[in-house]
Symmetry: C2
Subunit: 329 residues, 2 copies
């Protein structure tokens, strides 16, 4: 099979686009999809500072590299979850990546913030993945807010977005369907939220990461017994196989015809937001949800008879050599 | 496993409802679902005459039997498609069923109306399943209109409805999503259209037909190489298997949250209707779509050099013993 663009030997088949590319032309295709996403949804205006959430996986690191290559003013943000079995490795990948490419990085350590995920899992009575997501989003928003970033970019790809949209469509969740998309406007002091990889599949970002020699953190989280949406992703793999282009057609069709219908219906019944009394993040309560989580963890940890001398539960499985990284400028 | 209701030995497991029933209690469950559908959507008012479209399959015959048992004033309507390999058998099943249960039946013969499906397939340049569906709906409407039926009932089950809704959701077809449902109000002289089996799966109607000894026409249409929505039905079988109740939740959720959003958005831009100059059915053109099909078939058949003495193409494969049934009162 030949590269559609330059007729050299193709290396990356893209059935959704009914084509195949050589390495160089695949890179150009990838860049084109990112530029199209940014342009079509007015994701980044000239001069804006972009904070990129970096987990260490293929999507976030590919996004960071591509945005930097496109000349955007990017800074990475890694949230160290404090999970002994995986966090040090993920953090090391992110740090190595940023050093190699000369990119700025901030690191937030949940351990220091009183919310290491092992303690959340132990002391908070709700699914740990949901609490962890809430905590990460809180810190992305908070760093963007306090350090003056206008834009917060995440590495969600087309498969992520389609699986999530699909789950919410199965429920006909009007609240979700009325305001989701690849670019959510800034509001209440929060930065604009963008997903520049939304037109690219998981396979395509994996190819990009591989072709660019990005050393990724590929191990699944030890706490995600069964990753959410996995069943729906398989279902969509089948649909895409039967009808190439089905994923992007579903997602683009939603943005064009679905979202406007729900946006019109949905009443803006949001409560007024004010700064959290503890951390300053916008909240509709006196103290924001993440600070409430932190208080719960602190209280229950203090009352935990299995802990001696006020240590933290997560420490029981902590790697002794875990270095005490600092927030890096 | 025991019957949930009477604790006798269960014969019919219903995972979607997290239960199982014996024969008698399954019948009661089936009746309950039909009554719930009729009541919730105001499908049939007291004294209304109901025309039931009968293909001869499990769904339509089960529907007819159940509506009759519930005391509704029902008349069957069978459209004989004129396909030699299948229509005589389907018609015989419908006639046998109506005779056995003492139910009124009308039969429309497309052969006599100049539109046998083999000729439509041969002379009309569009997918035969789509043309056939249009022709059947035309006759259902026309008989209801000319014979004073207020209600037209079809045997669509939950699997049919979910597969169709799903296909239109994947496309975010706002026009479809704005006005589909199990009960479409009468308008422009057309009868109200109802689907009283919409809460019951294909499996459940098959069980009902089997338990009631209904002799059904089970052979697939020789022209439907690959039935539409088959892929989606398999996908939904998987979803239902993973999450029992997913189908009815998706469909009910659409009726509650999805349809209202699209109904508000969609502008009523329909053209004014007037009677077709040829058959009297409401149409936005001078001559309705089905009459235009009939004229096309007649014209091309007359010009077909392969036909001698003005016969019809379908006749080449016609069973000689095909009896000339009449419309029965």
């Amino acid at each position: 099979m030949k590269c559609r663009k330059c007729k050299a030997q193709a290396e990356i088949p893209l059935p959704s686009h009914n084509t195949a590319f050589c390495r160089e032309c695949f890179s150009a295709f990838f860049t084109g999809q990112v530029e199209k996403a940014i342009r079509r949804h007015h994701m980044i205006e000239p001069g804006e500072r972009v904070l990129v959430a970096l987990s260490g996986g293929k999507d976030s690191l590919s996004l960071m590299l591509e945005l930097a290559r496109l000349g955007h003013d990017v800074t990475g943000l890694h949230v160290d979850l404090g999970i002994p079995a995986s966090s040090p490795a993920a953090r090391a990948k992110v740090q190595g990546f940023c050093q190699r490419h000369g990119l700025d990085l901030r690191v937030v350590e949940l351990e220091k913030e009183g919310l290491p995920i092992p303690d959340v899992k132990r002391y908070v009575n709700r699914p740990v993945c949901s609490a962890c997501g809430k905590i990460k989003r809180h810190w992305f928003n908070r760093v963007a807010l306090t350090e003056g970033f206008q834009v917060l970019a995440t590495g969600h790809n087309l498969d992520d977005e389609v699986a999530r949209l699909f789950a919410n469509t199965l429920r006909w969740d009007a609240s979700y369907l009325s305001d989701q998309g690849p670019c959510l406007p800034a509001e209440n002091g929060f930065a604009r939220k963008i997903k520049p990889l939304y037109r690219l599949t998981e396979y395509e970002t994996a190819c990009y990461a591989f072709l660019n020699g990005i050393d990724i953190h590929a191990a699944p989280c030890p706490y995600s017994g069964k990753a959410s949406f996995t069943g729906h992703k398989r279902l969509w793999a089948d649909l895409e196989h039967t009808s190439p282009g089905a994923k992007i057609a579903f997602y683009d069709g939603f943005l064009k015809n679905g979202r406007p219908a729900f946006a019109r219906l949905e009443q803006e019944a949001g409560l007024p937001l004010a700064p959290c009394a503890r951390c300053g993040s916008p909240t509709s309560a006196e103290i924001c949800g993440v600070c409430r989580l932190a208080l719960t963890v602190a209280e229950r940890r203090a009352a935990d008879p299995s802990l001696q001398s006020g240590g933290h539960a997560g420490g029981q499985e902590r790697t002794e050599g875990d270095p005490a990284f600092r927030v890096e400028a």
